[in-house]
Each structure stands twice: as structure tokens, then as C-alpha cells.
């Protein structure tokens, strides 16, 4: 069988995001089994392991599951990703950090086993700035942008790019750290209230998101000027603040809602058969969709690997090749029942990072729905690519890796 380890977290401070993602990931695999009899005739198997969003437990999970023929890891945590990068490389297993993790892993010449398509945090940072540019007719010189970030590897990731971008566009950047878990943010928001930045962006996760949005509402910060990263843009993040959250924005690299043919299949084959991983009421929510999307990308990579190597029951090494040869086209997306759900792109050895495109979503508190308010747009690779090259080169030097494609 095809083993997909799922390093999930259904407990702890980040369970609110961990649960729907893991459910989406699992449900898609179940759908493939139930509807198609697996991928290429081989059944899929989800191997769940609880990490609690804790790096140490993540490593433990990795060690415990890798022996079972795990094809690809999706740890859903930047911290765990950092831990696993050397390990998976040594063990020859691919890792997919979708929209998180080490940004410079986009350079496949150095990070042979790490993939972070279709977008990463530096794309995210650029996306936010692009949006601001758009709002201001292309000129944000002198504007004040504040970054509220989770004080961890994850939250620090965009700072470098934002700094570069602030140099380039002349806006003023302030950063405010929020320590795990982010229950208490009063002083950060008092400071924001005092300094009245024009825009606030947030790299948050878990309870930090709700508290931030609630506090923003409390100080009556204009929600449309508050833009979260894609991990800070779920329903559960905005719901507690009620109507006050109306207008809050978040970036995203895939589409929202449940208006896709795929969901009909999910209902028939998974939910109605009682095989859903969760309660089955999360379908179409932002993070659930992201889990689906990740699973879809994984299964497509399996198909690619099966095609390349001509075997159905593939190994992790073959999976890696499949991922590197992955090509997503809109036509294929339509076939999969997910038209316009995500970008079309092609992975290569040089580029493990995908197209780096994204869109802006906005929350409507009355209908309690997210909707896209922009197209999927490209990000400023002229700033990002040099950063990626420099960072990966440093990593290569540090670890005696000779960059290159075999």
C-alpha cells in the first residue's frame, strides 16, 4: 500500500488548525480508496501520529513512522520541518512543507528532498506588500506596516523579505513578537493603537489568531487594513470576534468554499459512508480545504512517480522523483473536480517552490464566509530569488552539499 504519514496535532494550543487540516488530508485519501480503489490500483493508507505541534514529538513521530514505508512527510509545522530537513535527506524520503517551512528549500539543487510548492512565506510577504501597493496605487512610501508574529521559526520567516521589500518600496516596518501560545496580546495591541500603523499583517497560528483579531476589534483597528498570512485566515480565527471581524483579510494560495464538484464525491463516498476522519462538518472550511489540496498534490505526485518508474507500489525515493516531476494543469484540476482551486505549475529540480502565486481573501461576517477579492497573482521574485539563492548557498556551504541536479 501507499503510506502517507500524517504528523497531525489534534490536541494542544494549535488543535484548532491541526484538526481540519488532518481531516482534509485523510478524507481525500479515503476518497481515493473508496471511489477509485486507491492510486493506480494501490490502496492508500494514512498513518497518523500526534505531534502536538511540538518539534520533539514531531521527530519522535518521524522516527516511529519512517520504517513503514512512508512516502512523503507533511509535518504542518515550520519547527518540525526544520528538524526533519537533514533527517529526511539522509533517509531519502521526500518532505512537502506546503506554504510553510524553510523558504530557501525552494532551491532543489541544495534541498533535494524538500518541496514547498506552490508558495512559501516569502511569497506570502510579497503578496501582502503587493496588495498594499494595489490599494495605494503603487506607492506606499512612508506608509507604516506592522508585523505581528508568532515568536518562533515560523513567525520570523517573513521578516527578511519584508525588510528587503521595505527598502525597495520605502515603507516603514515595525515588528511585534508574540510568544507562544499568544493568549495575551494586550500590550502589543496597545502599542498598535498608539502608533496607528496604516496596515498590520500577522504571521500567527492557533489561539494567537483569534486573540489578535479580537484585540484588533477592541481597539477598533480598521479590519480591511489587517492582513493575515494564510495560516491566520480560517473561520475559527474570525468567528469569536463576531461582527467586529468583518472585513478582515488573509492571503491564500488556493481557493475557498465548497463550491467544487469534488465535494459532492466527498459527501457520497466518504461522509455518507461514515468514513470521514472528523465529524464531517468541516468540508469547505479554509484549513480543511488546504488539507485536501495537500493530499491532492501528494496523490498527483504518486501518479507521476508511478508513470516514471512503471511500478504502482512506489518507494519513497520514487515518490521524490514523482514530486520533482509534478505538473499541475488546469485541465487536470478540472478532471479532479477542483476547477480553479489552485494554480497550475510545474516542479523541477531547480524549483521546488512552485509558482509562488496567491490571492487575497476577505471575511464577510454576515454571511460568515470567506471570499476571494483578488485573482491569483504573481509575487516579486526579483526580491525573493536572490534571498533564496543566498540562504540555500549558505546552507550548502555549512553542510558540505554540492548543489546541483542529477
Amino acid at each position: 500500500d501507499l503510506v502517507f504519514p500524517s504528523l497531525s496535532y489534534r490536541t494542544g494550543a494549535y488543535a484548532s488548525g491541526g484538526i481540519p487540516f488532518a481531516d482534509g488530508y485523510a478524507d481525500y485519501m479515503t476518497l481515493l480508496n473508496e471511489r477509485d480503489g486507491g492510486i493506480g490500483g494501490v490502496m492508500t493508507r494514512i498513518l497518523e501520529c500526534e505531534t502536538g505541534f511540538n518539534t520533539e514529538k514531531g521527530v519522535e513521530c518521524y522516527e516511529a513512522t519512517k520504517g513503514e514505508g512512508a512516502l512523503v512527510y507533511q509535518p504542518l509545522s515550520t519547527g518540525i520541518t526544520y528538524q526533519l530537513i537533514p533527517k529526511v535527506t539522509a533517509d531519502g524520503i521526500p518532505l512537502h512543507s506546503m506554504g510553510y517551512g524553510r523558504t530557501s528549500a525552494a532551491n532543489g539543487k541544495v534541498f533535494s528532498n524538500i518541496f514547498n510548492y506552490p508558495a512559501n512565506y516569502w511569497n506570502g510577504a510579497s503578496l501582502v506588500v503587493n496588495h498594499l501597493l494595489e490599494l495605494n496605487g503603487g506607492d506606499i512610501k512612508g506608509k507604516k506596516l506592522t508585523l505581528v508574529y508568532h515568536n518562533s521559526a515560523f513567525g520570523k520567516e517573513p521578516i527578511r523579505t519584508l525588510e528587503e521589500l521595505s527598502k525597495k518600496h520605502g515603507f516603514e516596518l515595525t515588528t511585534l513578537a508574540v510568544d507562544h501560545p499568544g493568549q495575551e496580546q494586550k500590550s502589543q495591541w496597545l502599542q498598535i493603537r498608539r502608533e496607528r500603523p496604516d496596515y498590520v499583517t500577522m504571521w500567527g497560528w492557533g489561539v494567537m489568531n483569534q486573540v489578535a483579531i479580537q484585540e484588533a476589534a477592541n481597539i477598533r483597528f480598521p479590519m480591511e487594513n489587517f492582513i493575515g498570512v494564510w495560516w491566520s485566515g480560517a473561520e475559527i480565527d474570525v468567528l469569536p470576534a463576531g461582527d467586529a471581524a468583518d472585513g478582515y483579510k488573509a492571503i491564500t494560495f488556493h481557493n475557498v468554499g465548497d463550491d467544487f464538484p469534488l465535494f459532492d464525491d466527498l459527501k457520497t463516498y466518504v461522509v455518507d459512508r461514515g468514513k470521514a476522519a472528523g465529524a464531517g462538518d468541516q468540508l469547505g472550511t479554509v484549513v480543511y480545504n488546504r488539507g485536501l489540496y495537500a493530499a491532492m498534490l501528494a496523490s498527483e505526485a504518486v501518479r507521476a512517480a508511478q508513470k516514471i518508474h512503471g511500478v504502482s507500489d512506489i518507494t519513497p525515493a520514487m515518490m521524490r522523483d514523482g514530486m520533482e516531476a509534478l505538473e499541475i494543469t488546469e485541465a487536470r484540476m478540472v478532471e479532479l473536480g477542483m476547477p480553479n482551486f489552485g494554480p497550475s505549475f510545474k516542479v523541477s529540480c531547480e524549483n521546488h517552490g512552485g509558482p509562488g502565486t496567491g490571492a487575497i481573501a476577505q471575511w464577510d461576517a454576515t454571511s460568515k464566509q470567506w471570499s476571494l477579492i483578488s485573482d491569483f497573482m504573481a509575487t516579486d521574485m526579483s526580491v525573493i530569488q536572490p534571498l533564496i539563492d543566498a540562504d540555500s548557498a549558505a546552507f550548502a556551504a555549512e553542510n558540505n552539499i554540492t548543489a546541483g541536479c542529477s
Binding site: R10, T11, G12, A13, A15, S16, I19, N151, T175, L176, A177, V178, D179, P181, G182, Q183, E184, K186, S187, Q188, L190, Q191, R193, R194, G206, V207, Q210, V211, Q214, A217, N218, I219, R220, I236, L239, P240, A244, G274, A279
Partner: protein
Amino acid sequence: MFPDQFLFGVEVVINGLMAGVLYALVALGFVLIFKASGIFNYAQGVMALFAALTLVGIMDGQVPFSHLINAIFGTDVHHFGWHVPAFAAILMAIAVMVGLAWMVQHFIFRHLVGQEPIILFMATIGLAYLMEGFGDLMWGSDIKKLDVGIPQGGSFWIEEATAFLGGSNFYGFFIDQLDIVAAIVAIVLVVLLVAFAQYTKQGRAMRAVADDHQAALSVGISLSFIWVLVWSLAGFVALVAGIMWGAKSGVQFSLSLIALKALPVLILGGFTSIPGAIVGGLIVGVGEKLFEFLIGAPFLGGATENWFAYMLALVFLVFRPQGLFGEKIIERV
């Protein structure tokens, strides 16, 4: 501009005071249990979480243990389909906390009478694990919204009334209404609890138990009764804290971590002093907010709140080892 800076400072102090009250609410529970049993109850934070979870669960008509039930019987139950009004739900939650108090006493601490404090402390950490797992199992680990009708958000009235104090950069004092409610509740609680401990027979018995279990037993005080009583009180205080914090940030796992905010408050005020909890809370609240405002954020890169309270308490204790109002440690040979 200087005056604005100053007014912002004042605002920080006010908000610090308010934050302190919220810490104090948690610290109070610690003090109660410590006073009556010498038990340093690390599980106080988890109790707040558990109480809030229970309250939300009852209000929303959630089926307890639905996850487990569904897993075992393959059913698909989640809600009873009714909603309980806040007031009734609070009463029911109190009943649950009293039940919990009884169980804690009956199954755990009854068997640990006379053990060293650190053993008891460890047992409460075990209890924290237990209750955390139990609460999650019972009500699920997703975030829940708690709304018992407490107003929230900045008080416009105060903002507008004070806006004139500063220049165009000053928008009036920001005070969260929730914090105001919390402050009132906390003060009432402290007054009632002090009266209880100092002037009632049970309160005196409680203090006696704290000093010497054996002697308390010998004069006929029932340890079990006293302990169930204080654990119930602590459970009630935890519920109040859980409501306040839950209204702020939703009811979810991280609520249990507020215990960590209460600890420096506790040692600052003194483990055994009920008023100490509130005064300690205020000092910590103001101290950490001011420090962040004046030094932390501008010079140290922020996020100093996690450790500042502890450092403050530490420095303070060096001068007064039993905290502000703690009972003097009697050292005789």
C-alpha cells in the same frame, strides 16, 4: 510629544492594572488551596479551562464524551439540540466543580495526607494532565466561543471622555469593558474570601489544617471536609477565571497556561494571602506592561512579558522572602 508619551504611559498602567486583576483571579484559587492544605496546586489553570469547557458544553447542549462514544459505538452524536441559558449553566458548572472537588479529595489527596509538599505538588501536576485529557475527551479539543453576556471591547465612553487630555496623537484611554467587569468581580471575591478565612469557624479550621494536618485531625477537624470545601471554592474561582479568560480568547487549551501567569503573582503577594493575590496581580500587571512599554519593546525587542513578572518577583523576594503578605516563615531551633 512628551505629554502624549506620558498619557500613553498612564494608559499602559491602567491596562496593566486590569491585566493584573485577571491574573489575580487565577492566583486566588492557588492561595485558597495552599492555605488549607499546603498544596501548591499547579492544576489551577487546567481547572479554569475545565470549568469553562464545562460551562460552554452545557450552554451549547453538547453531548459529553461524544468523541469516545462515537468511536466505540460507531454512532454519530454531538449535540442534544438544546441551549441552556447562561445563568442555569453556571449553576450546573458549579455543581460539576464541587463534584470534581470531591473526587480530587477522595481519590487523590486523601491518600497523600502528611506527604512532603513537593510530592503533593507533583500530584497536582499529574492531576493537571488528567484533567486536561479528561476535559478534552469530554468536550473535544476544538476552540469554543463563550458568551455569557459580558460586554467586551474598548469602552467608548471612557475613550471619548478622556480624548481631550492629549494632543491629536492621543485617542483617549483605552479600557476594555471586560476588564472592568473582571475587576469588580475580583474585588467582590477577595472581600468575601477574606471574610470567610478570617472570621468563620470553617475558615479558621482551614488555616489550622494548613499548619498541621495531624494536629488538625486530633482536634476533630475533618480534613476531607475542609479539603472538599476549599477545592470547591477554588473550583468556583477557577470557573470565574475561566469565564473571564474564555470570553477574551475563546475556550481552548491555552487557557490552562494562564496558571503560569498567576505564579509570579502568587509569590509576590505571598502564597497564603488572599489580598496578596490581588495586590500581587496589580503589581505584576503594571510592572510587566510598563516594562514592555518603556524598556522591553523599544530596547530589548519585545515579548518580555513572559519573564519580566518572574524576574520582578524574584528580585522582590530577595528582600522579602515570604512575599508581600505571606506569613512569615517561622525559623526557630
